[in-house]
Amino acid sequence: MNYSTWLNILKILTLLCAGFTASFATAQSEQDSRWQLSLGVGLGVRTNPVMDNADIPLVLVPQISYQGDHFFIQNLDVGYALYQDQHQQFSVLLTPSYDQVFFNNWDANNFIVQNETTAITKELPGAEPTNHQINKQLLHNRRMAALAGLEYNVNWNDVDLQVQALREVTGYYAGHELRMALSKSISVGKHDVKLTLGANWQSAETLSYFYGLEEEETVDSMPYKANPGVTTLLRFDWNYQLNERWGLRFFTSYRHLSDPIINSPLLTNDNVITAFAGGVYHF
């Protein structure tokens, strides 16, 4: 990460921290706590479509949030509402890219010691199986990037629309993402159910960084540069509040990856499935 990138991130964080400080100072004079912290404990998994990388277990699911007059934090999302009313909110947002999580178990110790290459067999519906040799040691480090941009939320009668226009600001690949999600919430007694349909457009720079192959990274395949693509999402969330502190939670999601991602020699699947069920303790 070069100096100018660090400067950009520092500027964004400074702006957000200024908003946080002002919001926090206001909160101190109010009786309501604006912090919310919870921890989910249960069983879950996120499948990993990249190479032979292991699926990601979900056992402890923390949730931390802060809601100020303008400044907000939700887990790894930090934002500042430029305009808001009871039905809509327009914010600047800092949020991580999510593709990097599929590359986390890169470690030479995970390899079979005598074999530096991994055979990747891609079997996708309707297509002939393909095989590639991937040498993980040749692959550049896919880093977790920070995305910054604008977010618009609007709500009508338990239907939420969220649009995010984001740009990578950590200087890794100068990519863009455009995300849209439509959610319907249903509350019946202590049950809260939410169904979400979403689409995420990612630029060629973004997809090439994570799923592309440079010349120097290849073993037996051609270099791969990805085109822009759209990944779709279907998500179901269920929460049940047992009492003031404890609740039950179940969520599951299905992401159908975009064609440029699926076509990558690094991919062995065309989807990501996430599921988690457990108890939640609210601090």
């Binding site: 009786q31 809601q67 887990n75 999510y98």
Partner: protein, 121 residues
């Protein structure tokens, strides 16, 4: 709920009991204010008479005043958006006692809790 408020004045320590009924309102999400009728009752515990006014602290509005009284009762309508303190003050504007009308706001002040469906969890 009974609320005891210590009242002090230049003549010495007075103790009065101030009650607001109701003293709490749960504001639904669809509403921005509690439209309520409040009954305020006060009584000097030692039955000593004094002159006081009941003041809504948020805007210093005088709700009612009593002169040379050892107790008082007033019923009034109010539109309250957030927890509000009501005070008993004498002619010298000295605080003799106070009580809080609590508003529990179910309404999200801003947009319903924002969630990012793309997040890890």
């Amino acid at each position: 709920m009974l609320l005891s408020v210590n009242v002090s004045a230049s003549e010495g320590t007075l103790t009065a009991e101030l009650k607001l009924k109701p003293n709490i309102c749960i504001l639904p999400e669809a509403e921005s204010q509690c439209k309520t009728t409040i009954v305020a009752e006060w009584k000097a515990k030692n039955n000593k008479a004094f002159s006081v006014c009941l003041i809504r602290k948020s805007d210093e509005k005088s709700i009612a005043c009593w002169q040379d009284a050892a107790f008082g009762r007033i019923e009034f309508n109010d539109d309250i958006a957030q927890s509000t303190q009501f005070e008993l003050r004498d002619a010298n504007n000295q605080l003799l006692g106070s009580d809080m009308f609590q508003v529990i706001n179910e309404q999200k002040k801003y947009l319903r809790s924002r969630r990012n469906p793309w997040s890890f969890f």
